[in-house]
Symmetry: C2
Subunit: 321 residues, 2 copies
């Protein structure tokens, strides 16, 4: 939610001149995405989003993200389409950073998702999984179970500064997940960060998915677990079963969950909650002085994790029995 | 350069529904203006800028700004045009703040103004002054000579923390300006903040003026003095006489300066430099912890002031002799 890299107007005009989009008419830094700098560009032919990739995105991963957005667009998943310049390249450099221009997508994130939004997200997630089946590239999930202990090690000594007992709760959950993380679930392209900020709606109609910069190759059902965490809890961390039912049913209208995925859903939900708790905790404990971005609250996911620890089966998330 | 007030999507959709612009399709917080929160909205009929007025803008001044933009638009000065809702109102409330929606203006601020830009700004400034002649409302300049001593009093004890001798230099300049500030110059609507951020260009063609939230009733030539300060110095604080010549000639193509204005130009330039040095100094010394906006450097205007103190007459700024 910030613009980290400032681009001089003349340098920007030269960059845009490499694309067949007409002259550059306007450029506004926009508050979107926490990882990169984004500009909304108006060129004669259309509006675009220009992204400058900041340090947290590894440059060698960019071809995966760019090719994935092209792949999904070609299969009818509405997401930003990278624009290729006259040399046929979708990735360029601007102000010393890798940069890409993508099509502008109508719609807005919802701040208070309703049941209908959750249903639409479940369905869109399954469409993404189905469309990704024949995507040939692979990318390891850098934030799955084997990454959590190193994250925890960076935060454990100070975890209780944030909430008494947080360190012990995380240690128990982490050990349990390391021992029980499922191994043989269906794998494919997952979004891995499909939070309400990253799903656009016009009214209650889903208009597109954005921000594929955590996308990777991992268990499909883990992506659903991330969405259940991100969409189906109320602000007080209570789980809204009607939303869970709507999301899972929406997903299954497009892709039926397999038995092993259903059985693993509780452990996947605990894992997703721990993953976001840990990354938020590390960010929380390491806010640089003068930071422009306020860190997100790790305790939100500590509370969600405690719900998941009381769950008996996927039915508790709303799977039709 | 920040979004201070977050607006919920449903609240925003209800606000926009009061206007005859079609459904709201998109809203992005944009990094524009240091005083207010701005969103770029896409509605079915067009793009708009939505401004939420933050604390530094006095609510009772808003009708002046709104009416002025309407007045200038009607007289061919390209600036944002406030949009009236179905009740005929251009000022509404959103997220607990006064809010207005204005038309989207193409173009971009230039970061390194060239001579041609300075000429265009001089001409546009004079057009604004001419178009404002019959504007019936008045607003006191809250940041003119009588406001400088109270500002200085808030900063003087700590001025030397920023630069040794700064306090003494400012005290001398302030006393001199209080004694010599001109009284009988032509008065009218001035922009009072026409910095490069607030002038849009497409290539070298000026496409519009924005951010009228310092506009007020004051000496017209003082507005030119502000622009000479803001546009005609190089990054090392050296004055570029060619740019000054271009700006003054551009201005006089539209409105000839009177003899008294020409005589007063050096003192007006010193005043403008002191005004921006003092407001920046106060901001610099009062950055709140966790501030999202980096303060601008007051010493830039201390250096410009030292140039002005060596100036003998308007000819030194580029007035044709």
């Amino acid at each position: 939610m910030a613009v980290y890299t400032e681009v001089a107007d003349d340098e920007l005009a030269r960059f845009v001149a490499n694309y067949d989009v007409g002259a550059l008419l306007s450029a506004k830094g926009i508050a979107e995405g926490v990882e990169n700098s984004n500009y909304l560009l108006r060129a004669e032919k259309a509006f675009f989003i220009l992204t400058l990739y900041e340090k947290r995105v590894r440059e060698e991963d960019l071809p995966f993200f760019i090719t994935l957005m092209e792949h999904l667009n070609a299969r009818g998943v509405t997401c930003p389409l990278p624009v290729r310049n006259r040399a046929g390249e979708a990735l360029g450099r601007l102000a010393g950073r890798p940069a890409a221009m993508v099509t502008f997508l109508d719609g807005m994130g919802v701040r208070r998702p309703a049941v209908a939004h959750c249903a639409a997200v479940g369905e869109a997630l399954a469409r993404l999984h189905v469309a990704g089946r024949d995507f040939p590239m692979r990318r390891r999930n850098g934030l799955t179970v084997d990454a959590w202990r190193p994250l925890f090690d960076r935060a454990r000594d100070r975890a209780d500064e944030v909430s008494p007992g947080l360190g012990a709760r995380a240690a128990v959950a982490l050990a349990e997940l390391e021992n029980n993380w499922p191994a043989d679930l269906p794998v494919g392209v997952i979004h891995a960060d499909l939070f309400p900020d990253n799903v656009f709606f016009i009214g209650s109609k889903l208009s597109g998915l954005i921000d594929f910069y955590f996308a990777c190759t991992d268990c499909l059902a883990y992506d659903l677990a991330i969405c259940l965490n991100a969409w189906c809890f109320e602000p007080d961390a209570s789980f809204n079963l009607t939303k869970g039912q709507a999301m899972i049913a929406g997903y299954q209208r497009v892709r039926a969950l397999e038995g092993a995925e259903i059985a693993a859903l509780p452990v996947l939900c605990r894992g997703a909650a721990l993953r976001f708790m840990l990354t938020r905790l590390v960010d929380w404990l390491n806010v640089p002085a003068g930071a422009l971005v306020r860190p997100k609250d790790p305790l939100e996911y500590d509370r969600k994790l405690s719900f998941h620890r009381r769950v008996a089966s996927a039915g508790d998330y709303g799977l039709a029995r």
